[in-house]
Symmetry: C2
Subunit: 347 residues, 2 copies
């Protein structure tokens, strides 16, 4: 579903992790409306993707929170500024226009922005690839890493690869939900030990017992094609046998891992895979582009969320005067400023 | 009550405001135990002294808190590190010793510290002086700005100057509490409009009705002395009359205001009354002395609590390697580090 029109904005944030979210907050205090792009399907970045339920003890004033709680708190905090989120999109291209604006493109959307904030953390969280000769050519046709829309594979013979929550849940969804039921569902993992919630495992056991899901232990070693179509995967079983599983579609759910991705091709000054910034403004070497959080580097840099909050703050001040050179730049406090309280909607 | 022994420590923080408290936290994560000195009688700095009940909206992850709440949250967060607080003390002198340590002196205590963190905000919050010719000479003998110990003025004729909470509460304490009752209590304010809690005002009204407290409207314009003692204050009343109030003791409660105080004499590099620091470490030009929060300046500086949290963090990392040059300096996360969780007492 491509949104075809170009979105014009003063501020675009790449990355909806905690630092990207706080960038929205500080830009909001400056009176600047923000769009946010993230490759994941929800806000939170690493906090959601890597440790939603793990404890964080070093956010100042929060003796304890989980990644999920911190994300929820930040979403609540930025709500007054009504940011517009664009999920499931990875930014590919960033190009400077003649008028100084930046054209930022994802596979489904283009943005024309005056200021760009790269809060991309350790990179885009993208699905871990299944690396088998010849397979990549079928990506988006018969090979999938994500089930979107949910009825994408309805009526097909599907092999789901993976042994954790996502794989188990996709297999269940394909086998159990009337609206998206596949013709046949095979769950393939190197051994019959699966890591998922007790509820999901119980439902899986039922579906296996009723024959709706078949479990096969093995690892994909090759593919089988027929008339330019992917017709099956060749697997190696734990007892070292070679088998072929026929399929119409292959859904790979081996987890996600961060990839710096195309950022390195945007022509920005870098140092050891980090974007070099000026710690007075967190500006990169490109006018109007700022980098905050784990993606940047400067003398003394520590990859801590709380440092990213500071970076996002100074970047917002710098961007405010970049966007409006006439602005006073006088520091106001949320405790006492009628203007800031009006923007926060608390007056 | 002088504590006479010199306290030896690796780390001393001047200022128990939010940034000083978070310095304790970050030093604690580094395994460094901390002493904290503050001129006020409790932790919180400006958050307690200036806006304990006012809202703060821009602490990341705390959509709303008051100065008091933020202070309480930080005290809870640093509790595992058992900082030792020294309240009611203003640091006067800071002198480098031959071995590189710093001798830090307050009127009642000396510290010999290897690293010093100046988190003194806008300066020490000291009582606003009553400026009348000749009065200052009686400070600490018949002129007081604070009632400590509480029975200091027992049995005396006391004039309390001020129109807000502290003045009203001191007048009540002197008139109502058996253990510290003054012979006579006069509350002096320029007009009979007082700003205090309803409960305090009600109690004051009772004590005025029963004659235990006398209220006089007027402003001090001069003093009366007899045999080198302060015998009275000359006041000007709202109807422009001159009166003399006899007294043994004068208790002045006109609020507090920040004073940079002796910091400017410590030989540290400054710029417009702020301490100049390196934003990679928040080190001043003196080895082992760091400045964090509103007291420091560097390119891009914004006087925001959340920026101070970042500054305290990088200062703690810098100090950890200053104190222990052999330390690895590898960044660990509270979410995953067994060592940090052990220090936090959460394992």
């Amino acid at each position: 579903m491509p949104e075809s029109a170009v979105i014009h904005t003063d501020a675009l944030v790449i990355g909806a992790g905690p630092v990207g979210l706080f960038e929205v907050f500080q830009l909001g205090l400056q009176g600047i409306h923000t769009h946010v792009v993230d490759v994941l399907d929800q806000a939170g970045g690493q906090c959601i993707a890597l440790y939603p339920d793990k404890p964080i003890y070093d956010i100042p004033g929060l003796p304890y929170s989980t990644g999920r709680e911190l994300t929820q708190r930040l979403l609540e905090q930025i709500a007054p500024f009504k940011p517009e989120f664009h999920f499931n999109q990875q930014v590919g291209q960033v190009n400077r226009q003649a008028d100084g604006r930046w054209l930022v493109a994802t596979p489904v959307q283009q943005f024309l922005t005056r200021a760009l904030f790269i809060a991309a953390g350790v990179g885009a969280f993208v699905p871990k690839e299944l690396k088998v000769d010849g397979l990549a050519a079928f990506t988006g046709m018969q090979l999938w890493y994500r089930l979107n829309p949910p009825d994408l594979l309805k009526g097909q013979q599907v092999v789901v690869v993976g042994g954790e929550d996502a794989a188990v849940e996709y297999a269940i969804a394909l086998a159990a939900n009337e609206s998206q039921r596949a013709q046949r569902v095979t769950l393939l993992h190197r051994r019959d030990v699966l890591l998922a919630s007790p509820a999901a495992l119980a439902q899986l056991a039922e579906l296996r017992a009723s024959g709706r899901i078949r479990f096969v232990a093995g690892q994909v070693t090759g593919i089988q094609t027929r008339a330019d179509r992917l017709s099956g995967v060749v697997i190696n079983t734990p007892d070292d046998q070679s088998l072929t599983l026929a399929l119409d579609a292959l859904l790979v759910c081996q987890g996600i891992s961060p990839k710096l991705g195309p950022i390195a091709q945007w022509g920005l000054a870098m140092e050891r895979k980090q974007l070099s910034v000026d710690p007075a403004s967190f500006a990169t070497n490109a006018p109007g582009i700022y980098a905050v959080g784990d993606i940047n580097t400067y003398p003394g840099k520590k990859k801590l969320i709380l440092c990213g909050f500071h970076e996002a703050t100074l970047a917002a001040f710098a961007a405010a005067s970049y966007l409006n050179p006439q602005a006073s730049g006088v520091l106001q406090y949320t405790t006492s400023s009628a203007l800031l309280q009006q923007r926060l909607g608390v007056q």
